[in-house]
Symmetry: none
Subunit: 201 residues, 4 copies
């Protein structure tokens, strides 16, 4: 046995959890992920270190939950994907919004830190993907299916692969900072992906 005891989650202090979330997010934005330490979070939250170790396995896990909590509060369940009937316009709307989010300094720091951690740590990575990335991707897939039904897409395409044709390039530029992420770039991606690079017959 490694775990001597499993903590009783019903007795968990809501107060402490909130304080830990707040402290973690504040520290990450103030000093960056690398200089954020568990000791620092505990001190700032007015909480014993053990209270953190009891409930989370790592600094990244704390931050992921804190970030999800933040996102939940912001989202109010408002998750949806526009469907005006014009696929190209809808995709541009969403990708431009994504670009704005990626350029928003409030989210950028923590998200980069989590993505980086997830790249190296598969367990965290899968949580990151499942909880943060998959939900919007599923909305893309839905929208593409409806477009296919409406004859706005070639039939027989794999929707997952198609989605990645849009978000792959964006993520690439964002993570690797090769070139600036702009609305124009988002528009180009949509146009190129829909029309194809080959000359039209």
């Amino acid at each position: 046995m490694t775990d001597t005891k499993a903590p009783d989650s019903s007795r968990r202090s809501e107060r402490s959890r909130r304080a830990i979330y707040d402290a973690a997010l504040a520290l990450v934005t103030e000093v960056g992920y690398g200089r954020t330490t568990i000791e620092g979070i505990a001190a700032r939250a007015g909480v014993g270190k053990q209270t953190i170790y009891r409930w989370w396995p790592s600094k990244a896990a704390v931050l992921l939950e804190a970030f999800l909590d933040l996102a939940d509060q912001a989202a109010d369940g408002s998750y949806d994907f526009p469907d005006t009937g014009d696929l190209e316009a809808d995709l541009k709307t969403v990708l431009r919004a994504t670009v704005d989010e990626m350029n928003n300094p409030v989210y950028e720091g923590p998200t980069r830190a989590l993505a980086a951690e997830g790249i190296v740590d598969p367990v965290l990575g899968s949580q990151f993907v499942e909880k943060l990335l998959e939900p919007p991707i599923r909305l893309y897939v839905q929208r593409l299916r409806s477009a296919e039904a409406a004859g706005a897409l070639r039939p027989g395409l794999d929707p997952r692969t198609a989605v990645e044709l849009f978000i792959g390039p964006l993520t690439h530029r964002w993570l690797l900072r090769t070139l600036p992420l702009t609305h124009e770039y988002a528009d180009s991606i949509v146009e190129y992906a829909l029309s194809g690079l080959s000359p039209r017959g």
Copy 2:
């Protein structure tokens, strides 16, 4: 002035540098990036810690150089991009090779570690991009220009954006581990990007 003194690189020990590269790569593959320490590298290389700190600013910088050195040795100046006249086939060849590299456990560990570090540290990130990513991208751009000249591409496309339509989705799957990276996926990306997702007129 930040640096009070710059070391005299003409007196640098080639022997030590090589030993440090070897030790760094070995440790990263054996115990992972997170558990690789500068002390560990120094000990394994039979080198004083100061010899590392004298020449590199961080663990990541050591590893980046070590990895570049490794790549240089492997490459033998063989960098080129196939140009058989068949753009689609050439792109598939290259993307499949990229997939193989990304799945090769020898390169995967250090590359992920460096990418992750670069995501969080802009200075390292720009070096990572410039030294590892840009060279192949420039070959893509060349190939696309030659295709455009041959009438195999729609005229007026931005070649950088076009390149990212291919490598963006691949990088996305690789870094975020959303779905397995296969040759089939590489082929699909090429086909989708060239033909476009919209129904052909």
Copy 3:
């Protein structure tokens, strides 16, 4: 404020303290003071370095306490000064014992090291004097006062100065190793100091 935090001494681990004392004394006798390091003490005591730095400001301070602890154990409260009525004999007895102690290799190493450190570091020096040197000196002073009352000493002498007439020369030979420290020397000191160097009237 210099000290940001003072550790809570009520939660101090007695186990660690003992282990540190033992390790420190063992190392000093085995390899000498100069080659005794805080890292070495910590390793030998099976203790984190911080546990030493938390409670002592320096290697010398650790050793002083360890040595005092050793002396306390040895002493059993047995501190006293002979008073047979024969001042000269009593002084010879005590000075001969002091000579024996100074020649005892078990005590010599640590004591010399502490004395040397105290000579250079006034803070440590005052502790060394107060805790190790003063107690026996006070016994001398008492004995001399009783001798004065008994008419065995010239009246009006400053007892501190008188004491130093005995222990000063001994300490001088011991610290500076000018000539060997023998019982004969101790006897001579007592005789010379009591009778004076001038011809008797």
Copy 4:
């Protein structure tokens, strides 16, 4: 054989030696013995480290020589001991001068440092004693012999032991800082030692 080569002292750079002496003394008075390093001396003297290691075995040896050189310059060969015919007065004159020297901050730092080092390192200690302490002691011995011849001392006394009755207590107070070193103390020592502590017959 341990030393492979002995350096050729005839080719030694006088310039470097002087610069090293100056740097060593300056550093010791500025930052103290403990924080004076061979690297620091070399840098300050504008000298390669090897030039120090070539000619001296240790930091203490450098400082001892530097200090002897300083003393030689100050002394101008003026070494002598007053002999007015009044032994008590002569001794007080000399001891008061010694007290002044011990209290002189210019000499105090380096001398304490050397004494401390000599206490722990027997080789250095014997050099310290032989070169700095013995010469004046020999003058004392001479003066005491002349006093004995003049009938100012009890016959048959061991002059070395007698000398230590004077300088032992002084050294004791100086090194251990038990009580302040004053001219009055010097006078008392002379009086007590000459007349003795016992009541005069």
